[in-house]
């Protein structure tokens, strides 16, 4: 960028296409993410999951693998959190979407702090109440979705539809 007589360096701060980070643990969470991924077509999508072979099989383009963790593995959760922080800093997504579980929640938390939009989609398996991660997400995420209409009653989580 030219200012006065000088050519000043200008950091490229904008992505060409908005970037979306899609985080889902292996299993049902991942399968649900693949089902809804056609909603992301106007974004450059980067995936985060817990098993390398899932990225390979789904042929989803760019992705990262983090160690799976849950409430019973706090040390692993800590390690995974650090890896997620590095990924979010590197990728600077406009939006982070997760279908669960705990690694996905950690992605939303880091995204929230760094200014990304954050969307939690509670697993369709949770038909009686929102998952514990979902309840936490509903307190800070930009949008929290449940896949059961009768659970979207508290003004914190909303219903659009369901993968089943």
């Amino acid at each position: 960028m030219k200012v006065g007589g000088s050519e000043l360096p200008l950091r490229d701060s904008h992505h060409e296409r908005p970037k979306l980070l899609a985080a889902a643990s292996g299993g049902g969470h991942w399968e649900q993410m693949l089902v809804i991924s056609s909603a992301f077509s106007s974004f450059e999508v980067v995936y985060i999951t817990t098993d390398k072979s899932l990225l390979e099989y789904a042929d989803v383009g760019r992705g990262y693998v983090v160690k799976d963790c849950n409430r019973d593995t706090p040390l692993t959760a800590f390690i995974t959190l650090f890896k997620i922080m590095k990924i979010v800093v590197l990728e600077r997504p406009n939006c982070i979407v997760s279908t669960g579980a705990l690694p996905g929640l950690l992605c939303l938390l880091v995204g929230k702090i760094s200014g990304s939009n954050t969307i939690w989609i509670d697993s369709v398996a949770n038909g009686e109440k929102l998952s514990m991660c979902g309840q936490l997400a509903s307190r800070f995420a930009s949008l929290c979705l449940t896949q059961w209409e009768h659970l979207a009653h508290d003004g914190r989580s909303f219903y659009l539809g369901s993968v089943l």
């Binding site: 406009n94 939006c95 993968v163």
Partner: protein, 159 residues
Amino acid sequence: MIFVTVGSQLPFDRLIKIMDEAAVDLSDRVFAQMGKTNLVPKHISAVEKVSPIEFNKFMRNSRVIVSHAGIGSILTAQKWKKPILIFPRRADLGEHRNDHQLATAAALKQVPGVYVALTADELRAKLISSEGLVPSGGQESVLRRDLISGLRQYLSRLG
């Protein structure tokens, strides 16, 4: 072939034992992904885990799926349009931390191609009459279309 799966997180010995005994009376070959367990089935071939590629291949090549009530298994069975018999894990038997698989099963009873068995007898009965089971995943779900288009709309409004 009948493909049995207990999911990638926990074993499910009760289901594997039922299938091992039932296999004697079935004409299909039975193959199970049984998780980390000390069980050694006598009448079915079984492995601890399968890769995603193999999981999809076994699903695709089976006539009927028997599964814990896990969403990943159900969605994959629907993807390959296979009838799926779901057998929920129970918290009171230490098979899961809560009963959400029972809730999942109750909610899915109306979905074509998804069948629920709560006891060994129910499961055996459905296996014996499995020629009459219909494929799952037949119609594109309206709810699925709504979720995807709703999400797409929301995402398009983000800055």
